[in-house]
């Protein structure tokens, strides 16, 4: 017998060691395609966001004492009315819609600040009920609403709403929900959210949330324009069928027929139409199905909503990447159109750039032009119960309180501007836009909001000084 042939592993040779090292180095490198997918493709970003929510769901920020007090003093006080806020996406603003997408952190800050300011959230269904003789709305009512039924919005907003004990309204495009993709939530997701009690599901059309080639006027929103060769009667039938489809789908999946409607793109026929009769036809058809309907044109003068307004053209404020405090100020200012018109802008208004105006170049790091804090602190002592525009209450006195007057030290986490800083007047008249405003570049804070709570220190992140 010869020596048995042995195949036991010999001592590692140099090439084997090299191979081992290559194998070890390759291990982390194999992550790269996943990183690329999660950052460069829309579906990859959604998956990444989903992983983020699954691993560490967003939570409400803890507001500093100063910020809470600032919120309490900034928040408007009113009864019998509601402020309607329109959000679109939450998540990573990388899909070319920067202005319509805010970060979950920012949304959490909004909710925390609204809560600190004593605002109460209501749903569109509650607004519809209150405006048609049902139960009255709570004081300081705010309707949080999202359009389109976007998957990212519900995914990020839901844990935050849960923590804040708040509710929101989702205007879903029923056709998109039936044909789910990476962008729109599917019906079973939406049903799950609706069951939580935190989401009121309402209508945003079935298949009319898009532009189409209109009769002689190029590309226009499908809901507010005639198609080529379409008569007004055809148009009415088309709109009726579409709204009916949306209502039926929502009833089938959610169990309740929708009572509220949001016009796609905020367009209700006043513009972006090719027939002057449409504005009335679409209103009639919307009114057949719904008690209330929302649009969002002129963002400069969004009022608090009251039952005496046109219930089928109620207006919403498009929320952008504002700080929580600024949101409260916007709500406050929006509720006081009289001040814009009488030529005596309130400090709050002065403090805020016109929506849609990009921040002046250089202001992000330059000296702040005015102090938000001051504006916010003005006259917000809680005693001024605001009744509604057009109601009998006298204009709110507008006295400038110097920043030092702001309660307790540490300085509130809003811009601590050199006192009586020269007020930069709003030079441009409010631009009436029917299109949503330009996105605010997320990295550039408007001058008045240069300060946001950074961490829990309440320190000013945007600088100033």
């Amino acid at each position: 017998m010869t020596a048995p042939v042995s195949f036991a592993a010999p001592v590692a040779t140099r090439s084997q060691i090299r191979q081992l090292v290559v194998g070890l180095v390759a291990l982390p490198l194999t992550l790269l395609p996943f990183v690329g997918y999660a950052n460069l493709t829309p579906e990859g970003r959604l998956v990444r966001d989903r992983a983020v929510v699954a691993i560490s769901p967003p939570t409400l920020p803890r507001l500093s004492e100063a910020l809470r007090q600032a919120a309490a003093s900034t928040a408007p006080r009113y009864e019998g009315a509601v402020m309607a806020l329109a959000y679109h996406g939450i998540g990573s603003a990388s899909d070319g819609e920067g202005g319509f997408v805010i970060s979950p952190t920012r949304f959490g800050e909004h909710l925390a600040t609204l809560r600190a300011g004593g605002m109460n959230t209501v749903t569109a269904a509650e607004v519809a009920a209150a405006f048609t003789g049902g139960p009255a709305l709570p004081p300081n009512a705010v309707m949080l609403s999202f359009d389109d039924g976007r998957a990212d919005a519900m995914m990020f907003a839901d844990p935050l709403l849960k923590e804040a004990g708040m509710a929101a309204t989702m205007f879903v495009i029923s056709g998109a929900a039936s044909e789910p993709g990476i962008y729109y939530a599917s019906w079973d997701k939406i049903e799950g959210y609706a069951r939580s009690g935190r989401w009121d599901i309402q209508s945003h059309t079935a298949a009319s949330h898009r532009d189409h080639e209109s009769e002689g006027a190029g590309s226009l929103p499908k809901l507010t324009s005639l198609a080529p060769g379409e008569s007004l009667d055809d148009y009415r039938a088309r709109v009726r069928a579409d709204l009916g489809d949306a209502s039926a789908a929502i009833e089938e999946h959610i169990g309740r027929r929708p009572v509220a409607f949001a016009y796609p793109f905020g367009a209700y026929g006043a513009d972006r139409s090719n027939d002057p009769a449409i504005i009335d036809v679409v209103r009639e058809e919307v009114g057949r199905e719904h008690a209330v309907a929302f649009q969002q044109d002129d963002q400069e003068t969004v009022p608090l909503l009251t039952p005496d307004q046109d219930r089928l053209r109620l207006r919403r404020l498009e929320v952008q990447n504002w700080s929580g405090l600024e949101l409260l100020q916007r709500i406050d200012r929006a509720g006081r159109p009289e001040q814009t018109t009488d030529g005596a802008p309130s400090p709050a208004e002065l403090a805020l750039p016109a929506i849609g105006d990009p921040p002046p170049p250089g202001t992000a790091s330059g000296p702040p032009s005015t102090s938000t804090t001051l504006a916010g602190a003005v006259n917000r002592t809680g005693d001024t119960r605001r009744t509604l525009p057009g109601a009998t209450s006298p204009p709110v006195p507008a006295g400038i309180v110097p920043p030092q007057a702001i309660p307790p030290p540490p300085p509130p986490p809003v811009t601590v501007a050199p006192p009586p800083a020269p007020v930069l007047p709003i030079t441009a008249p409010p631009v009436v836009t029917t299109r949503p405003p330009q996105p605010v570049p997320p990295t550039t804070s408007p001058p008045t909001t240069a300060c946001r709570p950074a961490g829990k220190s309440g320190k000013c992140a945007g600088g100033s000084g």
Binding site: T2, V5, F7, Q19, G23, T30, E43, P180, G181, I182
Partner: protein, 455 residues
């Protein structure tokens, strides 16, 4: 130190694999969303993911049959055709196995080689008189050589070794253990790639072999012994089971042509119909794989053709087997037929638009599965070759996947591709045959009596 490193590495791989599975889970509604839009594509994807994960998860529970002291008589049969370079090494490894010599015989069958193979065998015979050397006189094809070896073998268990394969010294002891179970008709051992360090092609095949054996054969074995191919590089059969099937197997025809290649799969298939075929990971052999693309693709095509031919038999009886094994097996037969269309559809039809299940999703999904496949190897083996598993998947998805249909169209071409031999079936002419049985004092002992005259 090395053990700690290994532990850390294994833990990292587990975490990584879990993260990939989490990723797959998170994309599930992207896949389901695609289901509505593109049902065939999505259901294929879902089925493949379940199939692959199912295999891998099951394989984690595979254990070989331990050595319970079962020692049947064994005949090791080496059919050889033009193997003058490697035949001595193969014979040496077979004679050197760690198995009682009186229970072992080694039969080398020269299938009419035109080179010096027979001379090498004779040299070996001179050195090791216990070798049983057979020269068929002319070329009959691999099946003829194997069949002649079987007819001359006297062991209860027949072990086949390709002439380019090498048995590990304890492989025979390990491979006979499952035969203690009367239901087992055949056992396949575990093949490693001998020339795995040559180039990327052989490295890739090493990873491929590992998972093909450890995962696919491992799971098939666990599911009531339903391994569909006892690969020729290291397989053992119960002699009493093979003998009745011998003629039908030796002279198998398909589409009017002699079925030359796929001898291993064909024999397994016939045995599996009535018996169990199991995988024994502790019975290790090394085999030499093709080093160049041309030979590799020819070998793959040959395997594909025999797979196609034998699958037609498999589908007829497999439903009677273990139901889970049947599902896996029918799926594994269906997938390769669908795969080329799915690949073309994914690439051709989805270049446009960011739809769920778009091209990127398809690519990243495929990548995730390839990575899991490779990580399995990395977890089990620490030679740094693991990432070549992804090379294999890439090659599979781009080229090999289309071989199914190429194989169908060229089915009647029964040339080997890697061998120069192609012959019509013929009964072995015993008069032209040279047989040199073991000489006195060596070779197999049967029932306590030495075969051949006692010394």
């Amino acid at each position: 130190m090395a053990r700690v490193l290994r532990g850390v590495l294994k833990a990292a791989i587990i975490v990584y694999a879990a993260a990939i599975l989490g990723f797959v889970w998170l994309t599930k509604d992207l896949t389901f969303a695609t289901l509505a839009r593109d049902p065939l594509f999505a259901s294929y994807s879902i089925a493949v993911v379940i199939y692959v994960l199912g295999r891998f998860v099951l394989a984690l529970f595979y254990r070989p049959v331990p050595d319970r002291g079962y020692r049947p008589t064994v005949s090791i049969i080496i059919p050889a055709f033009n193997e003058e370079e490697g035949i001595i090494g193969t014979i040496a490894s077979c004679l050197g196995v760690d198995y009682p010599a009186h229970l072992t015989e080694v039969i080398a069958v020269n299938d009419g080689s035109t080179d010096g193979t027979w001379e090498r065998i004779l040299e070996a015979k001179a050195r090791w008189p216990q070798l049983y050397a057979v020269d068929l006189g002319r070329n009959y094809g691999k099946r003829g050589a194997m069949a002649e070896g079987i007819r001359r073998a006297r062991g209860d268990v027949l072990v086949f070794v390709d002439s380019d394969s090498y048995l590990d010294s304890d492989a025979v002891t390990a491979i006979v253990q499952p035969f203690a179970d009367e239901r087992v008709g055949a056992v396949v051992g575990h093949a490693e790639v001998r020339n795995s360090s040559v180039n990327w092609m052989t490295k890739m095949q090493q990873v491929r072999y590992y998972s093909a054996f450890r995962v696919i054969k491992g799971t098939e074995s666990m599911l009531s012994g339903t391994v569909t191919c006892a690969s020729g590089c290291c397989a053992a059969y119960r002699r009493s089971v093979v003998i009745p099937l011998l003629d039908a197997w030796e002279f198998q025809t398909f589409l009017g042509r002699p079925a030359t290649f796929g001898d291993d799969r064909a024999l397994t298939n016939r045995i599996l119909n009535r018996h169990r075929v199991v995988y024994q990971s502790s019975a290790r052999a090394e085999t030499v794989v093709p080093e160049g693309p041309k030979v590799f693709f020819r070998q793959q095509l040959r395997w594909k053709k025999s797979w196609l031919r034998e699958s037609m038999q498999v589908v007829r009886y497999f439903w009677r087997k273990n139901p889970i094994a049947a599902i896996f097996t029918y799926a594994s037969i269906a997938f390769p037929f669908m795969a080329p269309f799915v690949v073309l559809h994914a690439v051709g039809g989805r270049l446009l638009g960011g739809q769920p299940g778009g091209l990127w999703f398809y690519i990243i999904g495929t990548y995730a599965m390839a990575l899991l496949y490779s990580l399995y190897y990395a977890f089990k083996r620490h030679d740094g070759l693991w990432f070549h598993g992804m090379t294999f998947v890439a090659l599979y998805m781009t080229v090999l996947v289309f071989q199914t249909y190429w194989g169908i169209f060229t089915m009647r071409d029964t040339r080997w591709g890697t061998r120069a031999s192609t012959v019509e079936h013929a009964k072995i002419d015993q008069s032209a045959l040279t047989a040199l049985p073991p000489e006195d004092g060596s070779g197999l002992v049967r029932r306590g009596v030495r075969l051949g005259s006692a010394a």
